[in-house]
Structure formats: structure tokens, C-alpha cells
Amino acid sequence: MTSIGIVLAVIVPLTLAAALGAVALRPLAARLAPWAPLPALVSSLADQTPAFELDAALLGLRLGAPDPATRAFLAFTAVLWLLAGTFARAYVGAHACSFWFFFLVTMAGNVGAILAGSVATFYVFYAVMTFAAYGLVVHERSDAARRAARTYLVMALGGEILLLAAFLLVVRERIDLPFGDVPVSVARSPHRGVICAFLVVGFGVKAGLVLLHLWLPLAHPVAPSPASAVLSGTIIEVALLAWLRFLPLGVAPLPGLGLSLAAVGFVTAFYGAVVGVLQVDPKVVLAYSSVSQMGLAVVAAGAGLAAPAAAPAATAAIVFFASHHAMAKGSLFLGAAVARETGGGWPARLVTLGLLVAALAIAGAPFTSGALAKAALKDVLTAPSRGAGASAALLSVAAIGSTLLMVRFLSLAAPAADAEERGPRAGLWVPWLVLLASGSALAFHPGLRPDPRAALVGWGALWSGGWPLLAGVALAVAASAVLRRLGRAAPTVPPGDVLVFVEAAVFESRRGIVDARRRARRARRRLQAEAARRLRLGRRVARLSARLQRVDGRLADLEKVGVLLLGLFAALLFLLVD
């Protein structure tokens, strides 16, 4: 196996995107677009692929999949893009060409960011992914889509700048610094604190850390469902991979930073759950669920940062968690779209069952990939540190939150069984089903598990996965009973929660600026009028400039000037020849 697959993984989507530009090639390119992730999928399966290096491109292009973590990310990314692509073929109606263009470019950026072997290469592909994803968010071109896209872009740009600063501080003079040397470079840097803070905030925008999450609940509902699937399943998870690459995990103990990161993770997990439960749009609920789940992954990163001994376990846990989340969340987003198309009767029941399977995985129910992911996270948290008991308890509380979110989602998204019987199109349900199956394979294929010894069945696993689930369902039932008794609807929070305040503040200050400018203009005009009255000078200047303009008018006959100049150049030439 040569590195050709790695190169094709990036080149193929870009080539197809370029081919969309030519009218003649457009139908062909659009037909091939869903299959563009195939090279990435194939190269993720090969065990040892040599890296691809090309010094002439970028600041030294480095692509490769040297470690299992990279290959795992590549694998689930390729699978999700592939199935989202096939799903999109049936799903996307209007602006299909524009959709495929941004779809392909975002995919290239995503795959390239995973394969990147140096900081500069990563920066390029990450930016390509970020900016191209804008096109996916804005796709519907509605007011809501525009607002979501604007919010996304502003936050992404801010994050981008912090990341650039962090990258530059990491790289210093070694412009093509390979990723292998990055953690050490960060650990040894005199600006370690600043770098880590910038990295956390910069990638936090993508991952949706609390208060940096504002774009997620706006973008997911407006983007086409297959786009939401990859957005939530792979794009935001690139941030996790990036943290694994950049943060000095396992190199230097950073207890302060690690614990604060873990704390931020927990806050994010709970915040996402609480605000998400109060939503009325199923896709917004899923977005908040993603925020919440990313919080849990960040907790593991924090733990690994705090204690180098825990770092390998943390890495493995995060990688498995990301794979599981990509499959399950992707299934839920595609499933939500399938459910919307489904009428009633047995199709409705089957679709609900499919949604339930994916939802159980997110909730971490026994016998699902979610249970394994949660067990891996728990391993990381309970191993070394003193606060182990507390964090394990918090993890269980978070699992209750996840369950609540899933209950809420199912109640909003499941098709009504009593409606007229109508099945979804095969173009939609087949890819969805394949994705569900891949997610389950993650749980049942021992080679894919984070720890092959981890028990999928057994009383311990059943209990630790089961009780938060039962507690969550009980809580949901109780809450709805209480609400019914009180005769009230559940309280709601607008999607994007605190964004509403930010927007109000921006609006106010913008009005303030406009007012101030208007006042300044009025004052200036008044002053000018005053000055003109007081000083006769103005009139004199005007007269002078009028005269100058007359002179100018004469000079406007530029042929004369041209001939004049020619003389000048003739003189110059004469000098030169001399």
C-alpha cells in the first residue's frame, strides 16, 4: 500500500468540487459526489501506510495516518460522509449544485485535517473545512439559515484567529513542525498557559464548549439533515482530535489546566442537557445533545492532561467516544429526516424503533456502543486521581441528562403511529439503516472496542449502564406527569440560549454607533458652516482653486503633455546612449 490512497482521499473530493464548476461535467460530478469518501475509507483500513510529503505544496504538505487514533477518526469520518452523501442524493432538492460543492470541499477539509501530519497542513485543511461548512449551514437561504450562518462564521473566525496565534506560538521557527513534536513543543514553551488557553477556546468554538456553543443549536436545525449529520458527527469532532494532537497529553502534568478543562467539560455536559430538554425542535435537541456529549469527551481530555499516566487511556477513550458519537448522532440526524417523511402504521413503528436504537446508544444504555464509551470514560476518571468518586458520580448524572435529552428528542421526532400509513423513500431509509448497523458493529465487533476486555454483557455493565437510564426515563415521566397535572406546557428556551442577549447587545451598540456618527456629521456640518461664515478665506480658496481648475482644463489636452514627455525621454535616451 502506498500513500496514493491518502492523497486521493483529499484530491478526489476537491477534483469533483472543481468539476461541478463546468456545466458539462456537473451531472457526472454530482452523481459521483457521494462516493468521494471511498479513498479515505480504503486508506483507513490499511494498517501501515507511508506518509505523503510534498515540500513544494503549502509550507510543506504532510499527510499520513500513522497511528490507530488517526485511522479510527478517518474510518468513521469516511463512513459517515459516505452515508450522508448517499442519503443526500435523495434528500437535497433545491440548490443541489451548491450543496454538493460545499459538501465536497468541507469533506476534503475534514479528511485533510485528520490526515494532516504537520501544524501548517492542519491549519490549511481545518480552515477549508470551517469556511466551506458555512455553505452547508446557509444552504436553505432562509432568514433563520442566514442568522445561523452568520453566527457560525463570526464565531469560527474568532476561533480561527486564536488558533492561528496558538499555532504560531507552537511552531516558532520550525515552520513545518510535525505533529509528533507538537506536545513536547507545547509543554516546553514559556507561553504554555497562553497556548493551551487559545487551543481550548479556539477548538472549543468548533466542539461547542459552554458559551462557545451558540452556533450549534442554530446551525443544526437549518442545515439539510445529511449536512447536520456530518456537522455533528465528524466536523465538531475534529476539535477532539486536534486537542489530542496539540495538548501536551502524557508529556507534562498540568493539573491546574487539566482540572479546569474537566470542569468546563462537566459544565458543558450539564448545560447542554438542561437547555436542550427545554427545546421544541428535535434537531435543536440533538444539537444540545452534541454540546453535552462533547463536554464529556473534554472531561476525559482534562483528566489526561492532569495526569500523564492517564493520557493513553484518555486518548483511547476519546477516540472510541468520538467514533460512537459520530455513528449514533449521525443516525439520529438522518433518522429525524426519515421520521419526518414517514406517515403512520408499521413504517412509523419501525422508524421509531430505529430512532430508539440510536438514542439508547447516546444515552449509554447497556449493550450499546454508548455503554462501552461511557465505561472507557469512567476508566480514565477513576484510575489515578483523588476526586475519582466524585467524577464517576458526575458522569452518571451526565448520563441521566443524556437520557432526558433522548426522551425529549424521541417525543418530538417519532412519527405519529395513528397517521396515514406512508413509508419513507428507499433513498433515505437504506443509508440510514446502514449507518445504524455500522454503529452497532462498533459495539459488537471486539476489534473496534477501546479495551477488548471491556464487558458488553454482565451484571456490572448492566447495572452501571442501566440505572442512569432508568432514572432518566423515570424523571422524564414524572416531569411530564407533573406538567399535565398543573395543566401547563413545558417551559422553553430559544435555540442558542444566551445568543439572544449577545444579539441584543450588538443591535444596541450598532444603533449607538449609527446615532453617534449622525450626531458627529451634524456637528461637523455646523462647524463648517460657522467657519465659512467667519472666514472669508474659504471663498478666496475657492476662487484660487477655480483658477487652478481652468489651468488644469487646458492641461487636459494630454496629447501636448505626452509630446512634452516624449522630449524628456528622448533626452534620457540620449544620455543612455552616450
Binding site: A57, L58, V138, L153, L164, V171, E173, L558, F569
Partner: protein
Amino acid sequence: MTLETTLPLWVLLTSLIPGVLLFFLPERRHGVRTTINISAACAKLALTAVMVRGVYAGRRYETRIPFLADVDILLRADPFALLFVTLSAALWLATTAYAVGYLEGSPHRSRFFGFFSLCVASTMGIALAGNLLTFFVFYEMLTITTYPLVVHRGTIEALRAGDVYLRYTIGGGAVFLAGVVLIYSLLGPLDFVERGALPLAAREHRVALVVAFVLLVGGLAVKAALFPLHRWLPEAMVAPAPVSALLHAVAVVKAGAFGITRVVYDVYGVRLAHELGVMRPLAILAAFTIVYGSVQALTQRDLKRRLAYSTVSQISYIVLGVAIFGTLSTIGGIVHLVHQGLMKVTLFFCAGNLAEELGIHEVSALRGVGRRMPLTMGAFTVGALGMIGVPPVAGWITKWYLGLGAFTAGEPWVVAVLGASALLNAAYFLPLVYDAWFAAPASVWRAPSGRAEVNLWLLVPTLTTAALSLAVGVFAGFDFSPLGWAKLIARREFAE
């Protein structure tokens, strides 16, 4: 008379001679004029390529012509000169082709192309100048030959803009001359030398050197449009689009930035300049101009005016890179000379296409135009993303090196300025890009007259420069890329 001693002169003459010929060409001989123009531009490009290969192999090209008693007119092709020569030669070809299409059917074309060629000849002289006097001669020649281009349309507005332009640039030239005289009277005639031409003994004249520096850079700052000497540039955008393109990308503003770089590196020497303590104020001024230009651009409703203020901001990237000590920032500054040229020429071409084809001048009129002119707006998008610094378009290389240079030199505030500038650039470019692609058109556009969305003479240069902007970012690691060349220059300037 070997190739080594005549080639710089020939590069100059390939645009000077056509310029002279074109004045005598009857107005209606369009075919001949276009042939002369394009073949001259191609010839220049070929000669430049020869010199680039030669200089890369370590050869020297130098034309020395006795001028005054002890001062020569010296044309010399060192790597830095060649960077500018190559940029000018390539973009001259692009802008000439563009101008052929743009001015189709309009009067005074002989005059226009004559001055256009002379303007490029002056730029070549500036690039190849081997000492301050030669530089000054061509610098002034540039001022004069550009004026007819600015006022080409002959409207009151254009004449007024020409007035402003002359007032600024002639003033700047005079100040620059004062600086040259001061240096010559102190130290005698000096040729540009890498790592600085001033002899060690010059350090005694500390105060005089600082004064001379202020005069030289102050004079050059007019053309480089540093705050507060930038006002002429937004006025001058009344010129026809190809002129604006040339003005903003190659000729005038670049001459200023190029001159500042020459003065810092090859007259004073970067170490001496920093010892004198003049670089920090220059860096702060440049940083301020970067932000100021962007803020001003944000408020402009006219597309070309917005682009003009964007130039004010972007040119200061070059000055900023020059003013921060270190190899990396120097590379960033020098490479932006080329990057900004390619991206800005693309943007002005696009503005010209929009104005020619659909009569669009205001930024608010771009809604839905992407559907009518997808290729033009594609090029515009590339240029705009490059200005923001979105990889892989050229601009990110600049940002990367400037930022690295700033951190290495212990000036982290520069990175904050770069970040703020990127955000501001996004704020004034991205809404246009959004409108063009995603907004519904306000009216029905006029159908294209030919098969392409706009005259091919206009479209091909636009797409070429856009593709180049992308290519120099994607293939930055290539030895002959602008980045590779800038590294070569910086290595020589900082060699011990």
C-alpha cells in the same frame, strides 16, 4: 556589451520603446496597437525569466551608465529587484490585455497605452534601480506618467482626483529628494548593497541619519499610502479599472513599499536601522494604518473605494513586515509585495467586469450577481478570501510569516493587529461574497452578449490572476514561488 551588462536595460526598454511608438500610432490602428502591447509584454516576461534563472544560478546583471560627475545611472538585477520586476512584468501583461478589452471603442487609446507602457517602464526602473539617484529619477517619472492615466476620462471628478494625486506625490517626491541629497552630502554616492550600504563611519552622524531616514521614508510613505498620507489613493480610484488595478497592485503603491524596503535593507541595513530606533515608530504607524484602512473600508459604499481603502491597509502589511526585526517577518513583508499584487489586481479586475457588464458600482448592488457572472464572482471570492488570509489563497502565507516574525521578535501585539485586520477584512468582504452567491437578485440582469459572461479580454486576465493567487498559496513551498524567492532575499539580507 554582454548579456550581463545589457539585460536590465533591455527589460526597461521593452516597455519604454513601445510606449514611445504608441504615441505616434494613429488612433484607429487597434490591431497594431494590441500586437505591439502584447508582444512587448511577452518579450519582457521572457527576458525576466532569463534573468530570474541567471540570478538563481548566481549570475549578476548590471547596466551602469555615467550620468553626473560621480553618480551613475545604475540598473541592477538583484533578487529583490527581480521579485518586483517579475510581478510587474506578469501583471503588465494581464492588465494590458484587460485594458484592451476594457477600453474597446473608447477614445484616446493611443495616449492611454502610451502612458500605460511608460508607467510600467518607470516601475521597471524603480525595481532595477541600483542607487538612490536612479531610484529617484524613475520614481518621479512614475509620478508624472501615472497622472494622465488617473485623469484619463477627463471628467471634472477625474481632474480633481488627478490634482489631489499630484499634490501628494510631487510633495512626497520633493521630500524624498531632500533625503537623498542629505545622504549624498553626508556620505557621497552609494549603491544599494545587501545588508546596508552605509559605511561604518556613518554611525557618527546619528541625528543626520535619523533625519534622512524620516525624509526618505516620509517621501516614500506618500506612494505607499501610509496614514496620514493615504488620502490620494481613494480619490484616484476614479481612473479606469485597469489603471486602478495597475496602480494598486504594481505601479504606484508598490513603488512606495518597495522603496521603503530598499531604504531599510539596502541603504541603511536592517541592523543599523533598528539601532537608530526608527523602526519601532514605523511599525506602529504601519500597524495603525492596517487597522485604520480596514475601518475606513468598512464604511465605503462604492466598491472601488472600498477596495482602495483595503489597499491602504494591505500595503502596510509590507511595511510592517519590514519594520519588525527578523528573517521571518522580512519574508512575510516581502512576499506580500507579490501576494497583495495578485489578489488586489484580481479584485479590481472583478470590479471592472461588474461595472462594464452590469453597471455595478455600489457594494449594495451585488445581490445575486453570482448567478449572472459566476466566474467573475468566483475570482472575486478567491481574492476576498485571500485578503482575509483564509488558506490556501496566498494571503495566509503572509499572515503566517508576519505572525511568526512578530512572536520571534517579541512583539506579540502585532499578532493582535493581524487578527483584528483579518476580522475587519472579513467584515467588509464577506457580506459582498454572501450577497453575490446567496442573496436573490434584486432585478433581472442583462443577458450576456457573447457566449461568455463578459468579454473574454476581461475575463481571461481576471481568471488568470485569481488562479495565480490560489497557486502561489498552494505551491508556496516551491523554490520559484514568491515565498521561495522571498526566503532567498531574506537569507541574503540577514547573512552574517
